[in-house]
Structure formats: structure tokens, C-alpha cells
Amino acid sequence: MSGPARVTAKTAKPVRIDEVDTRPALRFLTCGSVDDGKSTLIGRLLYEQNLIFDDHLAALERDSKKHGTVGAELDFALLLDGLEAEREQGITIDVAYRYFSTKRRSFIVADTPGHEQYTRNMATGASNSELAVLLVDARKGLLGQTRRHAIIAALLGIRYAVLAVNKSDLVAFDQAVFDEIVTQFKSFVTELGFKEIVAIPISARDGDNVSSRSDRTPWYKGPSLLDYLESVDVEDDRAGTPFRMPVQWVNRPNSDFRGFAGTIAGGSVRPGDEIAVLPSGRTTRVARIVTADGDLEVAGTKSAVTLTLADEIDIARGDVLAAVRDRPQIADQFAAQLVWMSNDKLMPGRSYFMKIGSRTMTATITELRHRLDIDTLAKLAAKTLSLNEVGVCNIATAMPVAFDPYAENRDTGAFILIDRYSNETVAAGMISFALRRATNVHHQDLAVGKKARSALMHHKPAVLWFTGLSGAGKSTIANLVEAGLNARGVHTVMLDGDNVRHGLNKDLGFTETDRVENIRRIGEVAKLMTEAGLIVLCSFISPFRAERRMVRELLDEGEFVEVFVDTPIDQCIARDPKGLYKRALAGEIKNFTGVDQAYEVPENPELHLMAGRQEADALANKVIDELVRREICSK
């Protein structure tokens, strides 16, 4: 095969010069495995267009000598790598954006890394790109990474791809090598739904077919890379899609003006158009399209405008204004594809923040349907997703949202998930379709039991029993654990000396029998609270094994988590937060555990914290980790 390998028949439309300045910049990303030559390619593109400023070039010459890998020549890769650490290691670790323009077009390039563990960066770059340049080393042929990148690009909705077969100089510009790679690639990508794929044999280092056609590939009849990039028309016809505008900001300078500011995410709008406000479903008409440059008669996709409406309707940030006769779907449960971006794994059942358009709410992954093997596209059974993994899941949101399937509208079908505790962006999501409630909610029996109550909680009920000497740090740790659980959306309650001894058990003292009765009552209360689905944190010295066992036996299998807060008695005496040891040692208090009453060390606690040696924070994390390990709650 020769010439550009068009997987579909459509040819790129040449663009007339007078259209050039009016076209928005082409946003594309480059991806490939490490050392395939992405950085070299972009550096070469800039260099050949004389777009490297003299001072940058001087710096490049300096840097090439210091860090370069190509001897005395310019190492274009260095032009792109920005961060110090990367420069030292010679690797790109993040997405770098480059800007250049030729006489015919402006470009915004997302340079994304080839390292396996940085797939998330590629997804990030792809989310804002319209075209992907996939680099392949001609000597190595297609690798798992190239496939993976093609899949991610397609998943993120990129419809144009260039397969740049690089380092052709190292295979003597052999057409057979090129054809073989193209054939392999074609067989792989047909199912990915690219609209257009062009394959070009290049040498990034020497410049063949980069900005002009090379004599060294006489068999290749297609455009040079730059030629193609300058001419490809990627503007997806959003103008033809139905009107959508998420309300970003309510513009209220005075009581006479009430406008709704936002960027049009689909279609166009004119004064007089009938629109629906979603999710409420109220309808009205557009009165004016207000901008600082005067009112508009029409506003198209991606314009930032302020709309005033004919009727006074309650509208807030996060609502979506949409064409009345072609509305987005509304659902609180849907199927979506996720690219997991965090080192912390996905936890089905855990509550995350979900941001879609301008609305943020809590959401839970109710079911992970499968993980996608991004080398083979196979669907694999999975319980969780780790960093860089892609999966398909069902999501339930705290309130109904208006959306379009991602394939129909990238702006109204995309969302991110945010960890409620660390604020980290943990996933990129793309909505596939809404789930009908009926298919998802099962009504079994009418009597609401423990199971039904706890199903609402997204975690299991449990009793966390902190035992140890006075001053060991039980309450401190328990408080930190509770704060951590609370931040994770776990429903908890704390029982400790303070709230129990002063109320429920105020008739009890500290004799052995009273201590036993004290623990019995606490055990019963804790049990009732597990019936309600809560995680109960109990922090009591509870010196006797038997009572601790009694509580354990009140509860269901696996619900009692005994945490032994093991602090040496000397240390407790030294701390003596309430001055009790001092008084006990002076004989002023009787039956004081560790002084004149024994403490029976737990034999098989679920968790043994060597509390003398570590900070309370670290210990609390251990407790939470243990709950996660036991699948009582999610991370």
C-alpha cells in the first residue's frame, strides 16, 4: 500500500487562505511509547517553521550539550521537556502544551508521555484535543502502548488520527515496513470509530515528511504531516446539534436585570426560542442574548453569553438550558465509562463528588460492570479500578442531572469524580446512557430490616471497640478515626465515657460488677446502632476479656472490631492527662486499672496498635485501613 492510508474514504477538505485566520486553533495531541520521538517531532516542527526563537535556540544548543542524547546535534526533545526533574531523567512526565502557528493555521499541541503509568495524562490531553498523532517506532512496529493510546483517544471522543511511523531513516525508508504497520493498525482500529485516519512515514530527527514531502519516500504519495494538520477540518458540527447551555453564573447587577451566564455547549440560540430549564422542566422563551458588545441575534456553540428569559423562573448555577423539543435526558442513575486517575482505587459504594457541567453533587458507583483491557478491548470482571484502568460502571447521583450521551456531546456528557476527603480528581467519566430506575431498584420485602437500612449507607455496620489503659490514647485515636470516616461519607456514632457515664450509666460506679454492667449496656446500645446501619466507635478501658467477648457475641460475625490501644503504663502515667494516675498512685482513687486493678490484655484483637511509638494520626489511618481491608467501608 502506498499513500496515506485512509481507513474511511473521506478526504481532507483543503482550506482557502481567507478562512485561515478565522478558524479556531487546531488542538491535537501527540502520543506514543517512550522514545518513539514525540518530543523530537514537535521540536522539529517548530524548528522547521522557524518558530524557535533565537534565545530559545541558544538555550537549546546549551542544553543539548549538557543533557542531550544525540551528540553534537540539536536534541529537539529538550525543547519540550520543561520540569527540572524531567530534564535530568530525560523523560516527559506530564502534559505539556505547545503553541505554534504557520501561515495557514494555529495549533495547540498537547504533548503526552509514553510511560505506561501516565495514561491518565494522555486522557487529560485527549479530553481537550480534536486530533491525535500516534507515533510508532518503525523498527518496533505496533506496541501495546500504541493500541492503548488509540483506544484512549477514541474513548475520549477524538475522531481524527494520524499514524506517524517514525524513525523511518532507521529502516531505510522501507515501504514494506510501513505497509505492515499500517495494515496491523487498521485491523485494530476499525472498531474504535475514528472518522479519519491518515498514516505517514516520517523521520522526526531528519525531518522527512514532517513539513514537506521527502525524496527519500518516493513511494509515499500523501501529504506531509504539517500539510495534513494545516488542512484537516475537525470542527464537529455542533451547530447542528440541539441547543444546550449549562448555567454557570447568575448575573444580577440590580433588581431589574436577571441574566444567566454560560457557554453554549451545543447548537445555537436566538431571542424568541423556546427553551426548557432542566432538571426542573419549566419552559420559557429567550428574551435577549446579552454581551458587552451589544445584544446578539444569534449565538452559536462555544460562545460565552448571558441570556435573559421571558419568564421569572427559579434558575441556579448547574441547571441546563436546552431546546424545548430536543431535550437532554434526565436521570439519577446511568452507565458510564471511567478512566481511573488516582493511586487510590475505585471503591464501589463510596461517595464521591461528581462535577458535570457546572453542577457538583455526590455520587456513588453502584456497580462496576467490567474493566476494559485496553490492549485487547476484552471485558474483564473486576471489583475495582486502579490508576490508569478503564472500566464501565453504573453510577447513582444524589439528584437528577441533565446530560447527553458523551458520544453525542462531549460537553454535556463528560464528568469528573473528586475524592471528598483529599479533593483529588480521581476519575474522568463519560456517560453512555441512563438506567431506568425499574431495572435497578429491587423491592424485596416490606419489613425494613438491618440489611435494608445498611444498604442505604454504602458501608457495613460495625462496632469499633477501642480498649486500653487510661491515657493510652483511645479517645484521641477514636476521634480521628471518626473524623476520617465522616469525611468519607460514613455514618458513625461515638460512645465513650463522657456520653455514657453521664447519662445511661450514671447510676454505675467502678467496682468490678458495675464495670461489667457498664459494658453490657454499652454493648446493647452498640448493637441497636448497628441495626440502624451505623459504624459505632466505642472507647472504653474495658479491662476484662469476658465483657469484651460478651459484646462480640452480641453482634453478627465480622461486626466487632477490637482495637487494642497498647501504650506502656509508664507512658500513660507520664502523660496522665486528667491527673488520675497521680491520685490513684497516691491511693485517692480505688479500683484504678493498671494501678490496683488488672488490665487483661486482648489475646486476639482485630488490630493491635503499638500506640507508644506512633503519632495518633498514623494510628487512626491504620484503623481506617483495617476497615477498608475488611471491606466494612471503602477507602
Binding site: D81, W249, N423
Partner: protein, 296 residues
């Protein structure tokens, strides 16, 4: 279309930050990028007034024309402008002449900015930086997360997907927001021309008194810059491509006296704009270091 798209993107970013942060501020440096950013902000919230104040960190070494332009702009547009100077630094006698560019920038810009942000408890600050300015900026986020100590950790930035920005921060933390991230220098000038945005006259060529310093052509704005024995200022037709503290900002020999001429000159230009800044020459990766410390 190209500029409209960039404009819409910047407006989107500003509205997003104004909606999601409790107490945002716009850093106003008086330069062309700030002028464009301010203009965009006025458009973003029209017909409302800006829902946040402007903050200018005044090192006291700005060109006089810059300060005059700042005050005139604030008065003309009825802006809520906060001017902050690190008075302790001033009292310690820090100046670009006496202390050198590194110390001056650290104390009078980086530290001064932190002081102002802390004092007013701003949780988001708009900046006019562009990714095309400098290598390490190429990887900067549009919403760039800062620790409570204003530090920037290049390894701990959030991925930015689509135009969905994660604006959540913990108490004490803040966000730097860069609405012009995707603009190039040329885009800014073309936008200024298209929208007729006023800029400081120093950008236009004029005969100005200059001396040579460390390879830079320095315009002597007042007699605080001491002349070396026997040295004299000479008049040359120069303009600025970038504006900072006057003893640290090199002028450009140029006859471009109108926006059209500036844009033409830039299209044929062979050096990048930060070249005129003394701080960037300090050492390789210097911008990276400054950024980690909280320099804009």
C-alpha cells in the same frame, strides 16, 4: 473565530472561578496581559460590575507611566483596586539596584504577593500568565493548586479534563487561575487591536533615555538608577515587549509605534518575550524555582 474562541474560553474560566470561590482576586500587573485579562473580565460579568477586586503588587520600581496608567484605568472603570507593597522589604532597603534582581523579586514580588493574599484571605487569584511564555509554564494548569504556604508542587497538580475544573480546596489552600493559559503573545496583541484595549504607552516605540546594563537596554525612568562614572544616558528609539521593574526590564530597539506595527514586528520576531527579563537569566530552571516558591 480564533480570537472569539479564546475569548469565550477565558470568560468561561473567570465565571467558573467567580462562582466557585469565596473570595477571588485578580492580580493586575499593568502589562498587556493584565489589560487583556481585565477587559475579558469586564465582558464576562457584564452588565454586572466585577465580582472581585484587583490587586497590584507594587515594588515601587515600576515605570511612572505604568503607575499613571494603573490609576487612570482604575478611575475610568470604577475598579476596586488594592495596591500592596512589602513595606518591611522597603524598610530593609531592598531594591533592584542595591539587592540585585533575585533578592528584589523574592522579597518585593513573591513575598509581597503572599502577604497580600494572606492578609485579605483570598482563596483564588487570577493571573495573566500564558503557557507559551516559558518552558515550565507549558505544563502549568489553568487552575493551579497552591498549598497553604503558597507552594506549587509540580508533581501534585490535578489533571484537567475538558473544561471541568476541580476547584475544591481545603482551608488555607488557594488556587491560581490563568484564563489566558492557551493564548500566545500574538493572540494577546491581536485581541488588544481587535477590541481596542488601552495599554501602557511604553509598549510603543519612542525616543527614551537608555543605558546598557548586563546586555540589557535599560530605560532610566528616574535618577534612582545610578550612572556609572562617566556614563551618560543616550536617547534611542525603543519600546518594551514586556513590562516589569524598570531596572530589570530590557527595552527593544524598535520603531513600532502602532499596534499594527507591533504585530508586524512580532510576526517577524526572532526572540521570545521573556528575553527582556533579567530574572530569567539567573539560572536554568529559574522560573521553575520561583514558581514553587509562589512567584507568579
Amino acid at each position: 473565530m480564533r480570537l472569539r474562541r479564546l475569548e469565550a474560553e477565558a470568560i468561561f474560566i473567570m465565571r467558573e472561578a467567580a462562582s466557585e470561590f469565596r473570595n477571588p482576586v485578580m492580580l493586575y500587573s499593568i502589562g498587556k496581559d493584565s489589560s487583556a485579562m481585565l477587559h475579558l473580565a469586564l465582558k464576562a460579568f457584564y452588565p454586572s460590575k466585577l465580582p472581585f477586586p484587583l490587586l497590584h503588587v507594587d515594588t515601587t520600581w515600576k515605570f511612572r507611566e505604568m503607575i499613571a496608567f494603573r490609576d487612570e484605568t482604575a478611575a475610568r472603570l470604577g475598579l476596586d483596586l488594592i495596591v500592596h507593597t512589602n513595606v518591611e522589604g522597603l524598610a530593609r532597603g531592598i531594591s533592584p539596584v542595591a539587592s540585585g534582581s533575585a533578592v528584589h523579586t523574592q522579597v518585593m514580588k513573591t513575598e509581597a504577593l503572599r502577604q497580600a493574599l494572606d492578609k485579605c484571605r483570598f482563596d483564588a487569584a487570577f493571573g495573566g500568565a500564558r503557557r507559551d511564555e516559558e518552558k515550565s509554564r507549558a505544563k502549568e494548569r489553568i487552575f493551579s493548586h497552591r498549598s497553604a504556604a503558597h507552594g506549587w508542587d509540580p508533581r501534585n497538580q490535578r489533571p484537567e479534563l475538558w473544561n471541568i475544573f476541580n476547584t475544591r480546596i481545603k482551608p488555607g489552600e488557594s488556587m491560581r487561575v490563568f484564563p489566558l493559559s492557551n493564548w500566545t503573545e500574538l493572540d494577546v496583541w491581536e485581541y488588544i487591536r481587535a477590541e481596542d484595549i488601552p495599554v501602557v504607552p511604553l509598549y510603543f516605540a519612542k525616543e527614551r533615555p537608555v543605558v546598557d546594563r548586563d546586555g540589557l537596554l535599560i530605560v532610566r525612568d528616574d535618577d534612582r538608577l545610578p550612572l556609572k562614572p562617566g556614563e551618560k544616558t543616550r536617547m534611542e528609539l525603543v519600546r518594551f515587549r514586556t513590562l516589569g521593574c524598570y531596572p530589570l526590564t530590557g527595552a527593544l530597539r524598535s520603531s513600532a509605534a502602532t499596534l499594527d506595527e507591533i504585530i508586524d514586528e512580532m510576526r517577524n520576531s526572532a526572540s521570545s518575550e521573556r528575553q527582556g527579563r533579567a530574572i530569567d537569566h539567573d539560572d536554568a530552571g529559574s522560573m521553575e524555582k520561583k514558581k514553587r516558591e509562589g512567584y507568579f
